[in-house]
Amino acid sequence: MIPHSFDYAAATSFADALEQVAAGAKPLSGGMSLIPMMKLRLAAPERVVDLGRIQGLNYIHQDQAGIHVGALATHFEVETSALLRAGCPLLSETAGWIGDVQIRNRGTIGGSVAHADPSADYPAALVALDARIVVASKRGGERTVGANDFFVDALTTAAEPDELVKEIIVPVETMGTSYQKLLQPASGFAIVGVAARIGQDGHGRLGVTGLGARPILITDATDLAALNTTEANSDIHAASAYRREMAKVYARRAIAAARARA
């Protein structure tokens, strides 16, 4: 319940945050993943830089490139954003499935994406959306990584240690979408979660979380064969065979629900 000691500084700007991260500080966003790990002493950063006071980084706005969601937008803000609900309802719907009300009030999309928990909800939606994740560092400035390249492994992303997630860019939706989730009853994380984007013709793409170490992208929703061969996680809550089968069941449900909205 009690974390190790650490040095703390609140970043005054995103540039300041990049500077501190470059100097080795661990970024703290909403803290919904980091703080529990620190309390259990599974994480013990020596320096923490608090991103929470950076002004304006929780924006949600739209331009020709799509809808830009600032890294500090909370799950609640993503869930309830009128712009996203209209323009990218899959992201809003997915956000509403994260944790609970209190978690959604504090947790941020940037923090969740950077943490890359294999059972997290956002990765399914982001790969299905072909979202672009803008990361930045003091050293190299900004670069954009496609979501499917961003999630590398469990708790591992394509971001370098000195890089921070700055924003997520999602497309303005043209298809019907749905996120369907089988909850692990204790933690509320996804045993599997499937995000579907489906057109009226039944074609479309899927993102699947919970099944493997990283989200799985299926670019042809009419062919779920990939789910048979993927290495599936196995734990006390779901053996791999069940998890794989549920990925298919929830995929079919997500496809049907998404198509109905197309």
């Binding site: 319940m1 000691s5 006390i236 779901a238 069941v249």
Partner: protein, 779 residues
């Protein structure tokens, strides 16, 4: 929806749906739980626990911890050897009792076993220093599964007992051989009742405060049994009981796991005595899962014998009880309660039971809501359903056929109990009627044709409550009450019960107010401080109202006699009655109020002949018998074929807990009980790996029900008064839990019966159900 109002100032209160007196402090955040206590000079303790299930301790290096600024002491097992062992209250013949030191000495026996304690002025510092203690372990093979632990060559939990058998216990009644010889049908099944973690929302916590000048200890502990704790901790530390005071502040749930005496309670006392400072220890949730008792942990092998018409003749049970590494206060007793409960509500009189108590390298098991009775009821009610299926009888009919009939009470069971009163068919008939049983069966037929998996499950249960007559309990089984009237006429009740959420601050005030003809707000109910309250037993085993209530009732009768004598004196007449808060002279109509009578008793100018001054009575009530509540739960489920997910479509609970003092509180007890039963049926399970590592060691991996996981419970009652006590009450704390799990499992098995399923062990996770459906589809 029922809405309650503030109670009227006076009037008949027993039986009313009243909101609780204790709630204002709880809803405003001003109640005091043990972690809210802050004493001058208080220090904080952090406990170092074993990460291994079985290991030899080679060395402990606390140098770095002792050098940490702010740390005042580190103690290990070598320091605490002289403290008496953690007590086991059971006395079964031949019971093997390992010496349970408060800190491990040369060996650890389960993950979580306390090894050292660090004390510092600041709890953050204590936590840091605990990390710096280096314990060198020689890791040994562990026995984590009770059945495997019984196989030859299994690692010995306690090297002195290589068979891992703590005790065996046999009980029988009637003629089991003849019953089975006469049977037309015998149904056999292995049924498990998995290990559970009680998980009160408040973990345990202790503040020990040694006053060197007085050589006296005050121990604040989140416990269900302040007086027993005082007696036992005083014994462990060699203190006189009158120099040992236990204070139970607000307790954030117990469910049996705080019906115990734990190493930490003595350890903090030891530390405070050593340091001469108050010391606080608050258990973290992770610690709670490895250091506070678990519940259940049964493997039962059952055989039921019956005639073709469904008449049950007898029941055989072989019970393997996972005890864990040690005996806590009641560990070995719990499975014996299962044996007592074996006959359920049924008339058959032939039983035989054999218990094997098995040591494992796991947290000890002990009392958890129901304590032995849910396990038994689950097993019996599953067996009766399997028997019904075998004989193609309706599960309701087979129960109605075998129930003990109302005219047969008091009914002597084959296990030596005397059931007090019952109309066992009433709750079942009521549940069937409310559920619309015939229509449900018709709906099920249609659903089956449509390929749906719909199930209807019934369980009827009896339980043993009001623990209990003293000869049948490890400590006294009575309860006590003091009623004091202060000079202003206001009333204080001191109860030896130690309620912790059950609402006796209200229900006892209802009883006292009615008896004395005063308002609910004129009564204060106090419990939980051994320096203020006369000796008591505590709150567990659905005994709070069923034993503590009658003790209060009798204390009130004596008080009323005393009031009447003062009334005679005050009114100058021997024809006086006590009524509605005053004494009234039957001849003149003159009155003396409760305040006047109480005032006169303290002013003591005109004492009645042979009467003491003061207005106070105390009564210790020994119950002549247990009480035996009963009920019927009906559960309608539907199973998602694709996922195995179970949806509870209806939950009807009809419970008979005797006379009801406050229906609002009784409903709350039923709902909460059902939630814990449902947790066992569907979600909760302790998972140890083969090395004795607890894999379900946090709330992230151990699924207690959330609001979204609970069905709407349609709670109803029948009221069959108990003849055992003058209030007619039976107890309700455990009813919901006991009735729930078999009803749910019976319903799910019913849903899957078309696939050839006849039994499933809990928890019924979607994955388990899905696997069953897959096998059914293949078959």
């Amino acid at each position: 929806m029922a809405t309650t109002a503030a109670p009227p100032a006076t009037g008949k209160l027993v039986g009313k749906r009243l909101r609780r007196k204790e709630d204002p402090r709880l809803i405003t955040g001003t109640a005091t739980y043990v972690d809210d206590i802050k004493l001058p000079g208080m220090h904080h303790a952090c406990i170092v626990r074993s990460p291994y299930a079985a290991a030899r301790i080679k060395s402990i290096d606390a140098k770095a911890a002792l050098e940490t600024p702010g740390v005042v002491a580190v103690y290990t097992g070598a320091d605490t050897k002289e403290v008496g062992p953690v007590p086991c209250g059971a006395s079964l013949p031949g019971l093997r009792v390992p010496h349970h030191y408060i800190l491990a000495t040369d060996r650890v026996y389960f993950v979580g076993h306390p090894v050292a304690v660090v004390v510092a002025g600041d709890k953050y510092v204590a936590r840091d220093a605990a990390d710096s203690i280096e314990v060198d372990y020689d890791v040994l093979p562990a026995a984590a599964d009770p059945e495997k632990a019984l196989t030859p060559g299994a690692p010995a939990v306690h090297p002195e007992w290589p068979d891992n058998t703590a005790f065996t216990y046999h009980q029988e009644g009637g003629d089991i051989a003849q019953a089975f010889a006469e049977a037309d049908v015998i149904v056999k099944q292995r049924i498990t009742s998995q290990r559970l973690i009680p998980t009160p929302m408040e973990t345990r916590g202790v503040v020990a405060d040694w006053k060197p000048g007085d050589k006296a200890l005050t121990l604040y502990s989140s416990t269900q049994i302040p007086h027993l704790l005082r007696s036992l901790v005083a014994g462990m530390l060699g203190l006189a009981e009158n120099k040992t005071r236990v204070v139970t502040p607000e307790v954030g749930g117990g469910f049996g796991c705080k019906l115990n005496v734990y190493a930490e309670e003595a350890l903090m006392s030891f530390v405070s005595m050593k340091l001469g400072k108050p010391v606080k220890w608050i258990e973290s949730r992770r610690e709670n899962y490895v250091a506070t008792i678990h519940g259940r942990g049964h493997v039962d092998y059952l055989e039921i014998a019956a005639k073709k018409d469904g008449t049950i003749l007898g029941l055989k049970l072989k019970l393997i009880q996972d005890l864990g590494a040690y005996h806590q206060l009641l560990t070995p007793v719990i499975p014996t309660l299962s044996v007592l409960m074996m006959p359920g509500l049924y008339r058959f009189r032939n039983v035989t039971a054999d218990i094997v108590g098995v040591f494992t390298n796991c947290v000890p098991t002990d009392a958890y809501r129901g304590a032995g009775r849910p396990e038994a009821t689950h097993a019996i009610e599953r067996m009766v359903d399997m028997l019904a299926a075998e004989l193609k009888l309706d599960p309701a009919d087979i129960r109605l056929k075998n129930f003990i009939q109302p005219e047969e009470f008091p009914f002597a069971t084959a296990t030596g109990l005397t059931y007090d009163s019952g109309q066992y068919d009433l709750p079942l008939r009521k549940a069937l009627e409310i559920g619309g049983y015939a229509a449900l069966r018709a709906e099920q037929q249609t659903a089956r044709v449509a390929g749906k998996l719909m199930g209807i499950g019934i369980a009827t249960y009896g339980e043993i409550c009001a623990f209990g007559p003293s000869p049948a309990t490890p400590a006294g089984g009575w309860e006590s009450a003091t009623v004091k009237v202060d000079p202003d006429g206001k009333v204080t009740v001191l109860t030896g019960s130690c309620h912790h959420g059950q609402g006796e601050e209200t229900t006892f005030a209802q009883i006292a107010a009615d008896e004395l003809g005063i308002g609910l707000d004129d009564v204060v109910v106090f419990r939980g401080d051994t320096a203020i309250v006369q000796y008591g037993i505590g709150t567990f085993g659905s005994r709070g109202t069923a034993v503590g209530g009658p003790a209060l009732y009798y204390a009130l009768q004596n008080l009323k006699k005393k009031l009447k004598r003062y009334g005679e004196s005050a009114l100058g007449s021997d024809d006086v009655r006590y009524e509605a808060g005053q004494c009234i002279c039957n001849k003149t109509g003159k009155t003396a109020s409760l305040a006047q009578l109480a005032g006169a008793s303290y002013r003591a100018l005109k004492l009645p002949p042979d009467e003491e001054p003061g207005m106070q009575t105390t009564f210790f009530w020994e119950p002549p018998n247990f009480t035996f509540p009963f009920g019927a739960h009906l559960v309608v489920t539907e199973i998602d074929r694709d996922t195995g997910r179970i949806e509870i479509k209806r939950y009807v609970a009809v419970d008979d807990c005797g006379k009801i003092i406050n229906p609002l509180i009784v409903d709350g007890q039923v709902h909460g009980g059902v939630a814990q039963g449902l947790g066992q049926a569907l979600y909760e399970q302790v998972v140890y790996d083969d090395n004795g590592q607890l894999l379900s060691g946090e709330l992230t991996d151990y699924a207690i029900p959330k609001a979204t996981m609970m069905p709407w419970v349609e709670s109803h009652h029948t009221e069959t008064p108990s003849p055992v006590n003058p209030l007619g009450v039976k107890g309700v704390g455990e009813a919901g839990t006991i009735g729930c799990s078999p009803a749910v499992v019976n319903s799910v098995v019913d849903a899957l019966s078309s696939l050839g399923v006849r039994h499933l062990d809990m928890p019924l996770t979607p994955e388990k159900i899905w696997n069953v459906i897959q096998q059914g589809a293949r078959a």
